[in-house]
């Protein structure tokens, strides 16, 4: 028997949706789970749903802030003595007309989606190296490989002289995650740490339910071979698999959980 019951995970952005589902599935599987997010209220909600026998521990921290990152990792190490699994899930987007989108917004998206994923990884690597075991799972997106087709959504309107509304920073950041995954995987394989990406497709969360119009929803489902949206747990199952001992030979890889959206 290995020491899997003792394993410790950090999940970023785990107050809502996919991050919350990941934290809950890890905790239910016996992993001692630590969640990090900016706002305390949603984190507490995740904690409230966690299994009584293995309660999730919350720490509010801004992962784009180096001091906060250090504090979060230190707190996990002090409480549990080790970090074995890191799930870089926190992500933001910024939608604006192409010609008026700002550098500040671009930086904000990159800071959370890309910079924090790398520097959180950097912060936990020494503990993983010490134990010669580690799993880093980055949450990507089907938009790491696809451009946005505005015809599919209501929100991406044409703003005349300012051009179409888009979210280029988001697409860029999720593309970056795929190659960060590969290069980091190549770097840390020597310490028996794997790094992989799980890329969700269209997923309906409690937060996003009702945001899309019924017409848009139908159009998107019609373009998905499985004919429906994904559930947050379905992303969590793929993450749980990659974080397990069984996935030891998988590294630098991507698992898309998208109902076949990207092959349409």
């Amino acid at each position: 028997m290995d020491d899997r019951q003792e394993r410790v995970a950090i999940v970023t952005g785990a107050g809502t949706g996919i991050g919350q589902a990941i934290a809950l599935k890890l905790a239910e599987a016996g992993v001692r789970t630590f969640i990090v997010g900016r706002r305390p209220a949603p984190l507490e909600e995740t904690v409230a749903r966690s299994p009584k026998a293995n309660p999730i521990v919350a720490l509010s921290a801004d992962i784009t802030n180096p001091a906060d990152r250090g504090r979060a990792v230190q707190a996990a190490l002090e409480k549990f003595g080790r970090i074995d699994i890191l799930i870089n899930n926190a992500g933001v987007s910024s939608i604006a007309p192409l010609l008026s989108s700002t550098e500040e917004e671009w930086r904000r998206v990159m800071a959370t989606n890309v910079d924090a994923a790398f520097f959180m990884s950097q912060a936990v690597l020494p503990s993983m190296r010490e134990r010669q075991w580690g799993r880093i799972v980055n949450i990507g997106s089907v938009y790491g490989v696809l451009a946005l087709n505005p015809a599919l959504y209501d929100a991406f309107t044409d703003e005349g002289a300012l051009g179409p509304k888009r979210q280029p920073a988001y697409h860029t950041s999720k593309g970056a995650i795929l190659n960060l995954t590969r290069d980091l995987a190549a770097a840390v394989a020597r310490w028996k740490i794997t790094v992989n990406t799980v890329s969700p497709g269209m997923v309906i969360t409690e937060q996003s339910d009702g945001i899309l119009s019924p017409e848009v929803e139908r159009k998107l489902c019609d373009m998905t071979p499985l004919g429906r949206f994904g559930k947050p747990e379905e992303i969590a199952y793929a993450v749980r698999f990659l974080a397990s001992d069984e996935a030891a030979f998988i590294t630098g890889a991507e698992i898309r959980v998208d109902g076949g959206w990207t092959i349409w």
Binding site: V31, A185, A189, E234, F249, A253, G259, G260
Partner: protein, 259 residues
């Protein structure tokens, strides 16, 4: 962090080419999760190994049969599926693992058209025939899994055995079409891009120590891949945990093709 036991209770898995190596490990693994398993093998030479896999599963109180046939022949495939259905029930999980063995590294220009046809026939047509034969059961049930073994040779373009690589690339494209056509039936279709998994047959490539050395230089993970590394992801893809994954090619190669 273990998976709930019996994830595949009530499923009937048909694993082609399951006498040894990846196929055998996969059959045993699916059985351990509760599936009844048909252990397919090709020729008389593999019978004893296939029977041993099946009886090993039965010894663990699983349900399994060993069954022979040529995947390249339509009537053989039909007979295999009929026999599996009678013994275990209609297949709900199909693992396309059988492949024409082409150990060695023949340059493309010495391949004979006859050899080319035989490899494409077994690997591509065989997969098509099996998918076609099991589809009615999966469709009726409103759920099913087709999991096919691709190869890292496709993305890498490794020199030698162009027929084998062509067949493995064909399976990926075909898999995407099947995923779209069968999606409405609740059937998922995925391909595993298999890296270098240690087998006895690889002696054909030369001195085993030298094969190890070369592969470990190419892989990021400095140990050889083992059949269980593939069996684990097959079990995941076969389970309800992977309900929303379809049309994918998932690489399991120890960080080889990414560098």
């Amino acid at each position: 962090m273990t998976h709930p036991p019996g994830r595949l209770e009530g499923e009937v898995a048909l694993v082609t080419g399951a006498a040894r190596n990846i196929g055998a490990a996969t059959a045993i693994r699916l059985a351990a999760e509760g599936a009844a398993v048909a252990v397919h093998y090709h020729s008389e030479a593999s019978r004893a190994d296939a029977e041993a896999v099946a009886s090993g599963i039965r010894a663990e109180r699983g349900r399994a049969i060993a069954i022979a046939g040529d995947v390249a022949r339509e009537d053989d495939v039909a007979a295999i599926v009929a026999a599996v259905t009678e013994a275990l029930g209609g297949p709900t999980i199909l693992v396309n693992n059988a492949a024409a063995s082409v150990a060695g590294a023949a340059p493309w220009h010495i391949l004979k058209p006859k050899e080319w046809d035989a490899v494409l026939r077994a690997n591509v047509t065989g997969t098509f025939l099996f998918a076609r034969a099991v589809y009615p059961f999966m469709q009726r049930r409103g759920r099913g899994r087709i999991i096919t073994m691709g190869s890292v040779r496709s993305p890498l373009g490794r020199p030698g055995n162009a027929h084998y690589t062509a067949s493995k690339s064909a399976l990926e494209g075909m898999g995407r079409v099947l995923a779209r056509e069968m999606g409405p039936d609740g059937i998922t279709v995925n391909t595993i891009i298999v890296g270098a998994i240690r087998t006895a047959a690889e002696a054909a490539y030369g001195d085993p120590a030298e094969v190890d050395r070369q592969l470990l230089e190419l892989q990021s993970i400095k140990r050889r891949g083992e059949p269980r590394d593939i069996a684990g992801i097959v079990a995941f893809l076969a389970s309800r945990d992977a309900d929303f994954i379809t049309g994918q090619s998932i690489t399991v190669d120890g960080g080889w093709s990414m560098t």
